[in-house]
Structure formats: structure tokens, C-alpha cells
């Protein structure tokens, strides 16, 4: 990468072996052994010895001594000291215990205690003082602090500047993933197909453990879309290839699904009228035939009505009952990306930056004021209303948004998570993210702000994960994955190794990596751009054992998730006919007639194809929806059918694992829901073992080895049959598990809050009590 974009002169020395500025240090043999573990393509840029990593806010007694390294991928703190106060660590294979990927850095603050100076370091900045302290604010809510009291002042300064420089790259191709994948291609030059990762370009669904051999469909190919059409039983829809080679639009995938009645030629013409040429994209079809479609606004005012009409007619034609189209203008109904970002900034400020005790008294109103929960609720609520349209009204739903690549991603995904149990499995959820985010052109590069210079940052993806968590919290048995999985997935957006969350569109990946390949003399063969590792290849990050934590032991799943080609899914709930095994279309609907009463307009929507107006319609729309929700909630939940969120203020909660996991004061040691998770895992594991033994017994000696193949799905394993009653809660469990606040959140303060102060820190407010009436 250095040959491509040479660093500025001030940093030239970083290309050389680290200069030995401090004799004192190099004479210390022990320090010399501290060598970083580097990935292919990773280079140490600068390093400094005798650094102290702060562990606790109020005392230095737990601080660790070691070497701080800045590479082109991460900040690494290498130490021989064991981690204090911590008996467990969930390890990322790409990162050491104390490492922070450069893309995870939010802000770098250098401090000089003696001069009482402090500076936020941007790229290419000068630092006029020698820092005594470095504070890294991370995007995943961690705050890491290093002290340089004993290190060489010049080296310390250089490392700080190097971190500032390399964590704020000027060009996409300077992100480490390029260097890494380039190295991989070079190393495997003799192989025909690039990375010999064995899963054809990192489509890995092999990651989540549990012996699942399925792969996550990436929706890069025609066949993935075709399979999805068949899986959902959608008739009237076809895969369209007009964007092959990104000839039509650079922010659409090469293949997508459109109404069968629209010819390629028409689509090409229409495409010009849409913002970003983003014509309607099919997302999903209900077993009743209603489809979920997303599209950008039609910018051509003159053509708008005509094209709109054509599109809607085509969608109606694709509906087996010729049902109408319900349009939802997301820009008008939901908070915009700037508002979501502002809420997130406040939330983060409140959760980690501000002193714990000072925020206690006004915690609830401060949390409300961030508006984060309000926005999560708004997305859930709106998605649930669209579920009603699709499921109960049998209407196809079109999501409309200016560009159709932000709010639409979130809403389209949530609707599908609620309606289709397949998307509540690990593979299904991953395929959903591929389909509605990665391929649909969610601008991960800008929204995650990997290059740290855009004002386009917005945590919509996190908001989606948070909303999914709310559903998981309300329906713990409906999801194959755990909240740990969701948190780890969020963290993975901050590791610039995976192609998944690196680009603004699939086209950008192809374009940028082709350029990079040419500049690096990499032969791409017939590949479209470099094949970056996929985040779904979880084995790159976690051991098989650690990956079992992704599995939710509460999940009541089918033995095989419903991915059988062409078969309609087995979930369907109608007012008259409640059945969990009904296949295909309910016979009552097969004649394709639905009553006029069911087609009612609503505020913020317009239904095309005007109907003769029965007079009683207008005011009953909302009450019909109320009625639908009321009835749904009054019945027992079928976990293999639609699930709807409860969205009152008392139901939408803060996702504590994600936002509090690094906060030591908020950690419940030996407690938290993980302790119930642990207990259930033991039992679930025991049931698994018993069921295998039973199978063995039944199948007889010939197949006796069959049972040995099965690996445990559970992280916590029963040590033997019948021991679930005796095994206590392991010492290392806490509400932060599998994460740990130790060394990960170290706010700067003169004197921290000792436990005693924390305990008695209750505020006295002057109350209205009458002292004479003292009980």
C-alpha cells in the first residue's frame, strides 16, 4: 500500500524498522520479546516501549506494562502481564486482547499532564507537546487509555501521530482489507482462484458452528435470487440481468428481481427517471402472494405519474389476487439519518462518556432525551404496520425513499424478520443482510465512516440490530441466534478486513479492487474484483467453541430451517383459519377475490388504481389495524409464523449488553440474563446428548459412530447426564459476558469513584416530606 500512496514525508521513517531512540529500553531484554502477531500484509508502522495501559479509573495498581504498536491494521498493546481481575476472555482471532482495529477508532486524544495540555489528533497534524497520555475513544463504545510516563517522549509522540495518521486514511484503498487481500492473492498466485479459503470467496455460513454446512447466500449471483423467489413461492417475479457489469446503475446489484410483466427494455427506459436509476427491487413475497418492494423516488416530474402507474400495475399483476399496492413514503414517516446519528451520539455520550454517578439521578429522562429508543420504536412500529398490510390486507407494499438505500434497508429487513421465520435463523439473517443491505447498496463506507471524513455517518445498521434485539427480547424462543451474535456482528462492521461492510455498493468493491489489483499486478482472471473475506466466515474471527455462543439455547427451531427450494413456507395466520401447518395459499383466497373493504387508503399513502369508494371506508382503517394487532396479541404466539413487536414505552428497552458491556459500574457480576442462558444451555446440551444416544441405540451397532459426529451446539456443556441441578454459576459470568469492561473502559478523571462513594452516592433531593411526620 505504501508504493501506491506514499505517506507524507514526516512519516517516512515509519517504513524503516522502528528506530531505537531509547537506550534504556533496548537494554531491557524482556521487552524485546514482545512481538506483535501480524496478519498477512500487516506492517508495524511505529512502536513505543514502557507504556502503561490503564485498567482502572481510580487506581494505577492494576495497570499493565508493555509495548504499544501501531500497524496498518490496528493498535496493539503487547504485554507479558496477565490481565488482572478477569477470569475469562472472549477472543477475536484477528486481534489481541488489548488491540483496537484502526477502523474502530473514533477519536484520538493526547494529553500532557505537566503542561496541562490536551489535543484531539486529526490526520497530518502536528503535536507541539510530548504526550504523557493517549486516550482512544472507540466506535464500539470502549475508551482505552495509555500512559507514557516511562517511555521515550519522542517515540511516544511518534506513535500517537502514526495512529492519528493511519486511522484516518485519505483513500478507500488504504484500508487494510486491500493490503490483506492483495497479499493473499500474491501468496496464492499459483492457485487458480484467488483466496484458497475453500468457500468460494468467503460466502461462509460455516462460521456459526453447530456443524451447519450451509452457506450464506450472498445474492451476488443470478441463482441466489432465483432460489429466493422459489423459497418464498413468489410467482409473477423474475430475476433481471440488465445491470450485469453495472451497465444501468452503479448502486444496484448486478442481479435483482422485478415483476415478470416488465420487460428489460421497459426497465431500461424507466430507470432513467429514478434517483440513482434505482428502479423497483423486489425484496420478498408473502405466501399469500403479496410482495415487498423497495424503490427510489421518481425524479422526473413529468413522467412520474405515468411511470408510477406502470410500476404499480406491474406489481399488481404479479400478485396472484391482483391486489393493490400500498405505498409507504419512509422519508415522511421515519426519522432521517441525521436524526438517527444525533440520537446515537447522545446515547453514546450518556452511556459511556459521562461520569456514571452523575448521570444516575436523571438517567431515565436523559435516556429519553437521546430519542434513540423513540427511533427504534418508530422503525418497529412502522414495520409492524406494513406487516399488517402484507399479511392481513394482502396488499403488496412498496417502500419509497429518496435514494431507497437507507431507511428502506432497515424497514425491509425488519418486515421480513417479523414475517418470515427463516430470517430468524443465523443463515437466514445473514442472507437478509446481504440481500437488503450489502447488495441493495447501503453505503457502509459512508455510514460507518471508515474514512472518518464524511458527514454522512449514521448508525442505521446498529439501529436495525437494536430493533432485532427488541424482537429477540420479546420472543426469545423465535430466534436461532443470541444477543452475543448481534453484538459481535455490530463489532465486525469495525474491522476493516471483511469486504462485507467496507463499501458503498457492490460496484464500488469491483471498481476499487480492480484498480488496486492492476496497480499491484494481481491477476484477477475472470473474477469481478478482488474477493475479500466475508464477515460470514466467522471462523476467521472466532474458534468453533466461541462461535457456539452465537446459538440461542431458547430457540425452538425446526430441525432444518425451511430452505427447501420451491416449497411455500408453512406459516400463515388468518382470522378464520389458524393453522401452523397450512401449506401454500388458503383456499378461501384462491379465487382471487378480496372485498373492497380491505382496500382502504391511509394517511401518508396513496393507493393507485382508484376504486369506487364505498362510503364507510375512511375512518375504519386505523381501527381495522388496531383490531388486527389486538387479535394477534390475544392469541398464543406461533414462533414459526409472524411475530409482532410490542411497542409501548414499557416494552422498548435499552440494549444493555451492547451499550453497557464496557461499563464497569454497570456490570452485574455473577448475574444478568446470561446466568439463565447458562442454565438452559446445560440442559439443552444434555437433551442433545441424550437424543444422540437414543439415536445410536435405535440405529444399532452399525451406525454407532453416527452420534460421535455431532458437536455440541452449546457453549456451556453439561459435564455429564443429570448434573444440571448441581453445577453452579461459573465465576466468570457477568452481565457483560462474553465481553469484559476490564481495561476496556477507562474514563479520565482525577480521582475516580471508589466503590464506597458509588454506593452511598445517592442524591438527597429536597422533598416535600414533612419532617414532623417522620414515621
Amino acid at each position: 500500500m505504501f508504493s501506491l500512496k506514499p505517506p507524507r514525508p514526516t512519516f517516512r521513517s515509519y517504513l524503516l524498522p522502528p528506530p531505537q531512540t531509547d537506550d534504556k529500553i533496548s537494554s531491557e531484554p524482556k521487552i524485546k520479546k514482545l512481538e506483535p502477531v501480524l496478519l498477512p500484509g500487516e506492517i508495524v508502522v511505529n512502536e513505543v516501549n514502557f507504556v502503561r495501559k490503564c485498567i482502572a479509573t481510580d487506581t494505577s495498581q492494576y495497570d499493565l506494562w508493555g509495548k504499544l504498536i501501531c500497524s496498518n491494521f490496528k493498535i496493539s498493546f503487547i504485554t507479558d502481564d496477565p490481565m488482572p481481575l478477569q477470569k475469562f476472555h472472549y477472543r477475536n482471532l484477528l486481534l489481541g486482547e488489548h488491540d483496537v482495529p484502526l477502523t474502530c477508532i473514533e477519536q484520538i486524544v493526547t494529553v500532557n499532564d505537566h503542561k496541562r495540555k490536551q489535543k484531539v489528533l486529526g490526520p497530518n497534524q502536528k503535536l507541539k507537546f510530548n504526550p504523557t497520555e493517549l486516550i482512544i475513544y472507540c466506535k464500539d463504545f470502549r475508551i482505552v487509555r495509555f500512559r507514557f510516563d516511562e517511555s521515550g517522549p519522542e517515540s511516544a509522540k511518534k506513535v500517537c501521530l502514526a495512529i492519528a495518521h493511519y486511522s484516518q486514511p485519505t483513500d478507500l484503498q488504504l484500508l487494510f482489507a486491500f493490503e490483506y487481500v492483495g497479499k493473499k492473492y500474491h501468496n496464492s498466485a499459483h492457485k487458480i482462484n484467488g483466496i484458497p479459503s475453500g468457500d468460494g470467496g468467503g460466502g461462509g455460513g460455516n462460521g456459526a458452528g453447530g456443524g451447519s454446512s450451509q452457506k450464506t447466500p450472498l445474492f451476488e449471483t443470478y441463482s441466489d435470487w432465483d432460489r429466493e423467489i422459489k423459497r418464498t413461492g413468489a410467482s409473477g417475479w423474475r430475476v433481471c440481468s440488465i445491470n450485469e457489469g453495472y451497465m444501468i446503475s452503479t448502486c444496484l446489484p448486478e442481479y435483482f428481481v422485478v415483476p415478470s410483466s416488465l420487460a428489460d427494455q421497459d426497465l431500461k427506459i424507466f430507470s432513467h427517471s429514478f434517483v440513482g436509476r434505482r428502479m423497483p427491487l423486489w425484496c420478498w413475497s408473502h405466501s399469500n402472494g403479496s410482495a415487498l418492494v423497495r424503490m427510489a423516488l421518481i425524479k422526473d416530474a413529468l413522467q412520474q405519474r405515468k411511470i408510477d402507474q406502470r410500476i404499480c400495475n406491474a406489481i399488481t399483476k404479479s400478485h396472484p389476487q391482483r391486489s393493490d399496492v400500498y405505498k409507504s413514503d419512509l422519508d415522511k414517516t421515519l426519522p432521517n439519518i441525521q436524526e438517527v446519528q444525533a440520537a446515537f451520539v447522545k446515547l453514546k455520550q450518556l452511556c459511556v462518556n459521562e461520569p456514571f454517578e452523575e448521570t444516575e439521578e436523571k438517567w431515565l429522562s436523559s435516556l429519553e432525551n437521546t430519542r434513540w429508543l423513540e427511533y427504534v420504536r418508530a422503525f418497529l412500529k412502522h414495520s409492524a404496520e406494513l406487516v399488517y398490510m402484507l399479511e392481513s390486507k394482502h396488499l403488496s407494499v412498496v417502500l419509497q425513499e429518496e435514494e431507497g438505500r437507507d431507511l428502506s434497508c432497515c424497514v425491509a429487513s425488519l418486515v421480513q424478520v417479523m414475517l418470515d421465520p427463516y430470517f430468524r435463523t443465523i443463515i437466514g439473517f445473514q442472507s437478509l443482510i446481504q440481500k437488503e443491505w450489502v447488495m441493495a447498496g447501503y453505503q457502509f463506507l459512508d455510514r460507518c465512516n471508515h474514512l472518518k471524513r464524511s458527514e454522512k455517518e449514521s448508525p442505521l445498521f446498529l439501529l436495525f440490530l437494536d430493533a432485532t434485539w427488541q424482537l429477540l427480547e420479546q420472543y426469545p424462543a423465535a430466534f436461532e441466534f443470541s444477543e452475543t451474535y448481534l453484538a459481535v456482528l455490530y463489532d465486525s462492521t469495525r474491522i476493516s478486513l471483511f469486504g462485507t461492510f467496507l463499501f458503498n455498493s457492490p460496484h464500488q468493491r469491483v471498481k476499487q479492487s480492480t484498480e488496486f489489483a492492476i496497480s499491484k499486478n494481481i491477476q484477477l482472471g475472470d473474477e469481478k474484483g478482488l474477493q475479500f473475506p466475508s464477515v460470514w466466515d466467522w471462523s476467521l474471527q472466532f474458534t468453533a467453541k466461541d462461535r457456539t455462543l452465537f446459538h440461542n439455547p431458547f430457540y425452538v427451531g425446526k430441525s432444518t430451517p425451511c430452505v427447501h427450494n420451491g416449497s411455500a413456507k408453512s406459516f400463515k395466520r388468518t382470522k378464520k383459519n389458524y393453522s401452523s401447518t397450512l401449506r401454500g395459499m388458503p383456499s378461501a383466497l384462491k379465487n382471487g377475490i378480496i372485498s373492497d373493504q380491505e382496500l382502504l387508503p391511509r394517511r401518508n399513502s396513496l393507493i393507485l388504481k382508484p376504486k369506487p369508494d364505498p362510503p364507510q371506508q375512511t375512518n375504519s382503517q386505523n381501527s381495522d389495524m388496531e383490531q388486527y394487532f389486538r387479535e394477534w396479541f390475544s392469541k398464543p404466539v406461533n414462533l414459526h409464523a409472524v411475530i409482532l413487536p410490542r411497542v409501548s414505552g414499557t416494552h422498548i428497552k435499552l440494549w444493555k449488553l451492547c451499550y453497557f458491556r464496557w461499563v464497569p459500574e454497570a456490570q452485574i457480576s455473577l448475574g444478568g440474563s446470561i446466568t439463565a442462558f447458562h442454565k438452559l444451555s446445560l440442559l439443552a446440551d444434555e437433551v442433545d446428548v441424550l437424543s444422540r444416544m437414543l439415536r445410536q441405540q435405535r440405529s444399532g451397532p452399525l451406525e454407532a459412530c453416527y452420534g460421535e459426529l455431532g458437536q455440541s451446539r452449546m457453549y456451556f456443556r453439561a459435564s455429564g447426564p443429570h448434573d444440571t441441578d448441581t453445577s453452579g454459576t461459573p465465576e466468570f459470568l457477568s452481565s457483560s459476558f462474553p465481553f469484559s469492561p476490564v481495561g476496556n473502559l477507562c474514563r479520565r478523571s482525577i480521582l475516580g469513584t471508589p466503590l464506597s462513594k458509588f454506593l452511598s452516592g445517592a442524591k438527597i433531593w429536597l422533598s416535600t416530606e414533612t419532617l414532623a411526620n417522620e414515621d
Binding site: R646, I668, L759
Partner: protein
């Protein structure tokens, strides 16, 4: 999209385990026999009314009033609504509308309940039906004002276990390893002469004579002298409870009291100080001097360290709970839920109580110091602090029976004034003595059980049924203010204990995730970040808010338990069969796939 359920699935009733529910299939609907009746319960009247349900609108029904309950059954075919309200929960009955009232359903009764709900009935203006209902309800809901007995004294229920035997003080102290060479059991209060609000049996320092105790009693509010509540099994530090010292404006001292506290301190050799936790805010403690009370000053008690815990008094708590009701009933404040909740200060009070208890527990366990806890009279905040600290320190109290013993000991026997705080059978709803102190304690326990899902043998239902019968007057458990009054009324002979009901049906109240652990101290995190409003209690009447019952996670666990047992059984059968046949191939055609569906239980 306020999620909602129809009245069809909505039963506004308390638990009634020992009685048969009326059949809900409509067969017996119109027979008065279908009204549940406890042994000893008699029907007084029945009337046709309109129940104005705040969630589903007016519902025509028939109301049956017995000497124990108000029972309403819907007369509408599409609604199976049932209202089953023990008269004990009623705090106030008001007439609404007058003879000139117009408008639909504006004439009737408005009933305020102690369990976070109101009931409204509309009646016909003709025929004095409202006057009749008002008088009958008033008479039976407030029997004390009409020289009638509380229902508990009429209840003839029989259970196969006797809840009155659950708590035996001698046994409980023996379990704690008492008496030992520092602490003795004294019967000085056998006839409640030393202190009429204390139990008969007390544990005091071995070195303090009965005369010492009598002299100390003169210096402690209502003679509630420092006595032992709990002793640490290993380090032998103790939790001691009492009332405030009678220091007064002049700053009186009492050598006997000072010496007595020193004797308590000396039972623990590890630390040279005795820690005193005064539960009150310091300003309140100072203010109490005006009425003769006060706190232990540094000058008088050299070897003690005093801390104030800033917990407010019963009046503040009562007002706070009122505000909670305002934001949850009948409708939940939606637009600014969190800030509304904050403005009630309820969770903040919970935090202060828990924080205080954590400090007590931590001092005893890690600080190795004996602790003395008091507030003003030592029967409200003191009971909260000692019982919660004991729950944190001693896993025994986290079992069902252990918890019953804890309540029986620290609350009932030590004279928490249940009769005054709840107002059993009393019509004076504005009585300043009423306060939800015990509810607040149960709320704290619930908060702990949320933070430690595996640490308690009991489930949420257990806590809710305790609260329901705190008000119902069906059992004698929570009646009267102190042990001496209970003894005079022969409560254990004449009434049934709540623990009889619970212990004869324990399975229903068990937490499936319970993992029995010994000697583990539980430190909850008393932070607003973790404290939550107990929705399943405070908002349970609202069908739109009610959470899934049964708890899906618990249910899943129970299913897996059943599955495990079935597999073990089948495995044993197969092993038997295989060993009998040895080399014979299995004849059963059943395959694993036929077995699997059992795992995927559909709810």
C-alpha cells in the same frame, strides 16, 4: 400500534388456587353455583350492573358480593370477562353521579383499590340498587367500622400443610448457630412487657443482663432495643436492629445504651468500630431530635461510626406510589414514558433502599464489621434494610421457605405495622399511617431476582401472590401490627396462614432456573441503568401491556426438562430391550426424525 388483547382472554382476577374456577366454556354460566366460594364465604347479594372497563369499554354483567369478594361475570356473549376482587383490596368507595345525572353510565360507584386499579360500575337509578350496593360493599370491605370480623376469621379453608409452623424462632436462630458464647436467647419479652411491639423471643449479647436490657429500653424509642437479626456464619459479625435513641433537643446520653453498644461491638474482635446505619436522611434524623428522638453522636459513642442512608419516610413513599399509579392506570403514559417514570421517583427510592442494604451486607461480609441498623421506630426502613441485607448475605432466605421465614421474622414478628400501613378492613383511606413499605421491599426483591435469574427458588408469581394477600384479608398472616396483638387475637388458631396456600402448591411458585448455592453473597447493581418498573405487577391490569404469560423462557426450560426425562426413560427402555435381544436388529421402525418434533414444541 398499542398491542392489545380482547376481553375474551382477559381475566381480572387474583389467584384462587384452592377453589374451582367456574367453567369458562359457558355451560354453567348462568348458575350462581358457578361463583367461586371459599369455605366460610357467604353470598350477600347480586346485582345487574355495567362494568365500565377502562380497556374494553362498558360491559354488562352480574356482580356477586360475598363477605369476601366482589365477583363480576359478563352477561355479554362475546366476552368472558371475569372480575374477582377480594373486598380487602378496596380502599375507598365513592358514589358517582347524582339523581340529575344524565349521560350514559354516569350514575354508579367508583371503587379505588390498593392494588393499582380502580373499578367503576354503572347502575340503574331506579330501585335503590346503588344505595344497596354501596352499603353492602362498605360494610364488608370495611368490617372494622361495623364491628364485623375480618374475613380471615371466617375462612374455613383447609390445607394439607400448616403455614403457621413455617417460622419457629428458636429453630431459625439455631440454624444461624445461636445461641453461642457471645449471644444468648432471652425470654425477657415473653409477655411483651419489655417492648410491646417486639417478638417474645430475642437474641441479645451474652454479657448484657436482663436488667441492662430494661435500662437500655428506656433510651430507645418505643423500647425497641438493639437485638440480633442475623449473624455471619464465618466471621461472626452481626446485623443488629433497633429504633432511634431518645437523644432529644438537649442531647441526652445514656451510659447503659453506650455500654450496650460497646458490648455488641466487642462480640466481634476483627474491627474496633461498630458501624451504625441510620436509614434516614441526616436532616430528618436531626429534625427528630425535636420530638425526642435523634441519633448516636460521636461524643457519646466513641467506638461507633454512623452513616445516614438517605431513605425517605413513609409519607414520601406513599406519594411516590400514587404518582406511579397516575402514569400507569388506566392508561400508560406513552409520549414521555421514561421522564414520567422518573418524575414519580419510585425507582429512585428503590435504588436508595437497595443501596442501603448493599452497604449493610458489604460491611458485614467484606468489612467484617458488626452493623446496627435503625430509622426512627425501627419497623419500616429498618425492616427493609435488614431483610434485604439478609437476602443478599444468606442464600437460605432465597428459597421459598427461607423467604417465608424472613418475612415472618423481620417483618411480622418484629412489628412492621401491617394493620396501619395497609389499613385492613379500615375505611379511613386518607390515614397518614398508610404506606407501601412492604410493597417496596417486595419490589426490591423482584429487582434482585431480575438481576440474578438463577439465585431465587421462587418466581415472580410468588411475589405477586404475597402482595395480593397482603390486602385480601383471606389469611391471618399480615393482620395486626405486632406479635402481641396477634397473640391476643389468637391469629394462629383462628385464621389460616398464607404459607399454607403457597406451600401446598409449591410447584407453581418455583423458578425453574434456580441453582442452589451456598454462601454466595449477591450484590445487585443499584443503578438506574438496571432498575426497572415492575410491569407485571404495577401494570398487570392493562391487557395491552401485559407480558407474555407464561414466561416463554421459563416455559422453554420446563419443556426441555420434560423432554430430558422422556429421553432418559426411553433410553432406559431401549437399553433394556437391546440387552434382552442382544444381536437382534431393532424392530422398531421409528427414526430419529420422528423423535425430533418433540423438541419443537409449538406454543
Amino acid at each position: 400500534m398499542a398491542s392489545a388483547s380482547t376481553s375474551k382472554y382477559n381475566s381480572h382476577s387474583l389467584e384462587n388456587e384452592s377453589i374451582k374456577r367456574p367453567s369458562r366454556d359457558g355451560v354453567n354460566r348462568d348458575l350462581p353455583e358457578a361463583v367461586p366460594r371459599l369455605p366460610g364465604e357467604t353470598l350477600i347479594t347480586d346485582k345487574e350492573v355495567i362494568y365500565i372497563c377502562p380497556f374494553n369499554g362498558p360491559i354488562k354483567g352480574r356482580v356477586y358480593i360475598t363477605n369476601y369478594r366482589l365477583y363480576l361475570r359478563s352477561l355479554e356473549t362475546d366476552s368472558a370477562l371475569i372480575l374477582d376482587v377480594p373486598l380487602g383490596v378496596i380502599s375507598r368507595i365513592e358514589k358517582m353521579g347524582g339523581a340529575t345525572s344524565r349521560g350514559e353510565n354516569s350514575y354508579g360507584l367508583d371503587i379505588t383499590c390498593k392494588d393499582m386499579r380502580n373499578l367503576r360500575f354503572a347502575l340503574k337509578q331506579e330501585g335503590h340498587s346503588r344505595r344497596d350496593m354501596f352499603e353492602i360493599l362498605t360494610r364488608y370491605a370495611f368490617p372494622l367500622a361495623h364491628s364485623l370480623p375480618l374475613f380471615a376469621f371466617l375462612n374455613e379453608e383447609k390445607f394439607n400443610v400448616d403455614g403457621w409452623t413455617v417460622y419457629n424462632p428458636v429453630e431459625e436462630y439455631r440454624r444461624q448457630g445461636l445461641p453461642n458464647h457471645h449471644w444468648r436467647i432471652t425470654f425477657i419479652n415473653k409477655c411483651y412487657e419489655l417492648c410491646d411491639t417486639y417478638p417474645a423471643l430475642l437474641v441479645v449479647p451474652y454479657r448484657a443482663s436482663d436488667d441492662d436490657l430494661r435500662r437500655v429500653a428506656t433510651f430507645r424509642s418505643r423500647n425497641r432495643i438493639p437485638v440480633l437479626s442475623w449473624i455471619h456464619p464465618e466471621n461472626k459479625t452481626v446485623i443488629v436492629r433497633c429504633s432511634q435513641p431518645l437523644v432529644g433537643m438537649s442531647g441526652k446520653r445514656n451510659k447503659d445504651d453506650e455500654k450496650y453498644l460497646d458490648v455488641i461491638r466487642e462480640t466481634n474482635k476483627q474491627i474496633s468500630k461498630l458501624t451504625i446505619y441510620d436509614a434516614r436522611p441526616s436532616v430528618n434524623a436531626v429534625a427528630n431530635k425535636a420530638t425526642g428522638g435523634g441519633y448516636e453522636s460521636d461524643d457519646a459513642y466513641h467506638n461507633a461510626e454512623l452513616f445516614f442512608l438517605d431513605i425517605h419516610n413513609i409519607h414520601v413513599m406513599r406519594e411516590s406510589l400514587k404518582k406511579v399509579k397516575d402514569i400507569v392506570y388506566p392508561n400508560v403514559e406513552e409520549s414521555h414514558w421514561l421522564s414520567s417514570l422518573e418524575s414519580t421517583h419510585w425507582l429512585e427510592h428503590i435504588k436508595l433502599v437497595l443501596t442501603g442494604a448493599i452497604q449493610v451486607a458489604d460491611k458485614v461480609s467484606s468489612g467484617k464489621s458488626s452493623v446496627l441498623v435503625h430509622c426512627s421506630d425501627g419497623w419500616d426502613r429498618t425492616a427493609q434494610l435488614t431483610s434485604l441485607a439478609m437476602l443478599m448475605l444468606d442464600s437460605f432466605y432465597r428459597s421459598i421457605e427461607g423467604f417465608e421465614i424472613l418475612v415472618q421474622k423481620e417483618w411480622i414478628s418484629f412489628g412492621h405495622k401491617f394493620a396501619s400501613r395497609i389499613g385492613h378492613g379500615d375505611k379511613n383511606h386518607t390515614d397518614a399511617d398508610r404506606s407501601p413499605i412492604f410493597l417496596q421491599f417486595i419490589d426490591c426483591v423482584w429487582q434482585m431476582s431480575k438481576q440474578f435469574p438463577t439465585a431465587f427458588e421462587f418466581n415472580e408469581q410468588f411475589l405477586i401472590i404475597i402482595l395480593d394477600h397482603l390486602y385480601s384479608c383471606r389469611f391471618g398472616t399480615f393482620l395486626f401490627n405486632c406479635e402481641s396483638a396477634r397473640e391476643r387475637q389468637k391469629v394462629t388458631e383462628r385464621t389460616v396462614s398464607l404459607w399454607s396456600l403457597i406451600n401446598s402448591n409449591k410447584e407453581k411458585f418455583k423458578n425453574p432456573f434456580y441453582t442452589k448455592e451456598i454462601n454466595r453473597v449477591l450484590y445487585p447493581v443499584a443503578s438506574m441503568r438496571h432498575l426497572e418498573l415492575w410491569v407485571n405487577y404495577y401494570i398487570r391490569w392493562n391487557p395491552r401491556i401485559k407480558q407474555q404469560q407464561p414466561n416463554p423462557v421459563e416455559q422453554r426450560y420446563m419443556e426441555l426438562l420434560a423432554l430430558r426425562d422422556e429421553y432418559i426413560k426411553r433410553l432406559e427402555e431401549l437399553q433394556l430391550a437391546n440387552s434382552a435381544k442382544l444381536s437382534d436388529p431393532p424392530t422398531s421402525p421409528s427414526s430419529p426424525s420422528q423423535m425430533m418434533p418433540h423438541v419443537q414444541t409449538h406454543f
